[in-house]
């Protein structure tokens, strides 16, 4: 196993950031940690990258214990923190050289690993890192995290604040890195990115809700789900919340996702109810659940 967590807990004063977390990540796996802000994702990353010591439980990365063999871990993992944390006043090339040197290697030695990514930023190699665009910064940070050919790569919300095109590119890069035998643990608040992972763990309030492949998680969604739309979205939420058969109703893109309480629910009943409440252009259709629906359902049950 590349990453093993056994009953990891961590509290900040009285707030439990991580509560009894256990899971394993297989070698070469692209594993996603999916959860909202404040779920404990960053705390988990900081423990696994030896920046923070857990209160209880055991964890190992690449076969090394995070507490006892932290020095070995530092040689074998790459970490990309959520915040851009390279030297803004050094150029692209200088940043890369700097990290290569402190890992005791050179750019040339592991060039094949970063080549795909580096050629995209190479035209700007004399530019200061602070002057790069968000997507470019991300690529540079990824290069710096990869320069010493790590066994495990930790990416803490790598795509937050990055435009959709760069996000897509970024995930394609991750898929390619996976081919090169690098285990990747990535966290993201974006549910659409979850479907690109091999397996995901849904996490909220320091607890894991479910761990499985994205497909299995979607398939496990227990209820029928409907997308609902009308001309007045705000009023629609209000009305759905007081509708007696509502289990949950929340915005999802231009629709609302609605799950009923009863098994015998018929969409025409809801249409009728909404028409009585003066909604126009009413649309109620059954749809397929997504990761987000599962997440909402699980976190609702969890509360």
């Amino acid at each position: 196993m590349s990453i093993i967590l056994n009953n990891i807990s961590k509290s900040y004063n009285k707030v439990k950031a991580l509560d009894d977390i256990s899971f394993e990540v297989k070698p070469g796996e692209l594993f996603g940690l999916i959860g909202p802000d404040g779920a404990g994702k960053t705390t988990l990353f900081r423990i696994l990258t030896t920046l923070l010591i857990q209160d209880g439980g055991k964890a190992s990365v690449a076969g090394y214990d995070v507490q006892k063999q932290y020095k070995d871990i530092r040689n074998h993992v790459g970490y990309m923190p959520g915040r851009f944390s390279l030297y803004q006043d050094l150029t692209v090339e200088e940043n890369l050289n700097f990290f290569a040197t402190i890992f005791g290697t050179t750019i040339e030695e592991n060039y094949d690993l970063i080549k795909d990514i580096y050629i995209q930023i190479e035209p700007f190699k004399a530019r200061r890192a602070g002057k790069l665009s968000g997507g470019m910064k991300q690529k540079l940070a990824l290069c710096c995290a990869l320069i010493h050919k790590p066994k495990v790569l930790f990416l803490d919300e790598p795509t937050t604040g990055v435009d959709p095109v760069s996000r897509k590119e970024f995930w394609e890069m991750l898929k390619r890195l996976q081919q090169k035998d690098i285990t990747i643990l990535v966290s993201t608040p974006y549910m659409d990115e979850a479907e690109l992972c091999d397996r995901i763990a849904l996490i909220t309030n320091g607890k894991i809700l479910q761990i499985n492949t994205p497909e299995a998680i979607i398939a496990s969604f227990p209820k029928k789900i409907y997308k609902v739309r009308s001309s007045n979205t705000y009023q629609l939420i209000e009305d759905l919340r007081i509708y007696p058969d509502t289990h949950s109703a929340y915005p999802f893109g231009e629709y609302l996702h609605f799950t009923p309480k009863s098994e015998v629910f018929r969409s025409m009943d809801l249409t009728k109810y909404l028409a009585e409440r003066h909604h126009k252009e009413i649309e109620v259709k059954e749809t397929v659940a997504t990761i987000e629906d599962t997440f909402m359902d699980l976190s609702k049950a969890h509360e």
Binding site: R46, T49, T50, L51, L52, I53, Y70, K71, R74, N75, V77, Y79, P81, R83, F84, S85, L86, Y87, Q88, D89, L90, E94, N97, F98, F99, T101, I102, F103, G104, R128, C144
Partner: protein, 373 residues
Amino acid sequence: MNIIRYIIQKEFKQIFRNKAMLPIIFVLPLIQLIILSNAATFEVKNIKFAFVDNDKTSLSRELVEKFEASSYFNVMTDFPSEKLASKAMLEGKVDVILEIPSYFERQLLKNKKADLSVIINAIDGAAAGVENVYINQIVQQFTKKAQVELFLFNNLGNQPQNIETIPSFWYNETLNYKTFMVPGILVLLVTMITLFLSGMNIVREKEIGTLEQINVTPIKKYQFIIGKLFPFLVLGMVLLTVGLIISKMLFQIPIVGSLTLMYLYTIIYILVILGMGLFISNFTDTQQQAMFIAWFFMVIFILMSGLFTPIESMPQWAQLLTEFNPIKYYVEVMRMVMLKGAGLSDIYPQVLKTFLFAIAMNALAVISYKKTS
């Protein structure tokens, strides 16, 4: 070695790329040196002097002229009465009032004795003391001369005995205040720049998040710390050099002692300051916090260094505290080596203590620096 070299290189690049910091590091201290050396003086000059001459004789006028001739006194117009003069002092227009009584000349001739009244504004006690000495000197010279001139006619055979003291001022023969101040101010500048820069440097990496990235690398604590602090040691030495050149060229301060000794001591001293800076940055999260703590220590160290006020006149407990003030030792060493030409054996106690501080401070700093939070 390679890693340390690379970090040092990186630090220098960052220092020289920070266009706002460069003048702060190199120009401001030198401006401070020039301004402070000229302004921070305890010499009491331009004393606002007023007199009330109730006698109005040639002798009383001669006394006033003595004051006019002195470069320390600015003689204002005379006041018709002591009352008006006191009022002027109350308004801050006058520092010293000399009142010459009626029949001053006659008394002096007849009784060989006369009284003068001197009123000094003593809000600044130290200045008042100095003014008192100046006035006494002038009055004494005057009476001596007056005695010779006046009594010569009376008893020719009885020459007054004159004992004259001629003080000889060592190490600063012309009593040039700058000679005393410049080495001390130089110390301040070297200390301030190295303490502030080193204190803020690591905190800055914390603030911008690069420290977290560094901490997950296999870099060793000592490599990182040496790499970080070495550039500031170099900066401190450069500042000292430029400061010494200015002292010599602009202020003509004599540099009697060995430059090598001065530089060697400065290296040990800067190590103390860098250790302190690192220690501060370990316990702060923002540059602002680091700056305030650095200032706190800086102010205490400066005021208790013996630079502006003699340590001998501090209360016992404060004197004890100054034993732990590195600036005190540096000021002492600079003055001793620069002005007196002291050798290693003369400054041995200071060197030893500073060396111990350097070890203690850096040990504390290294221990408290943690890669894991």
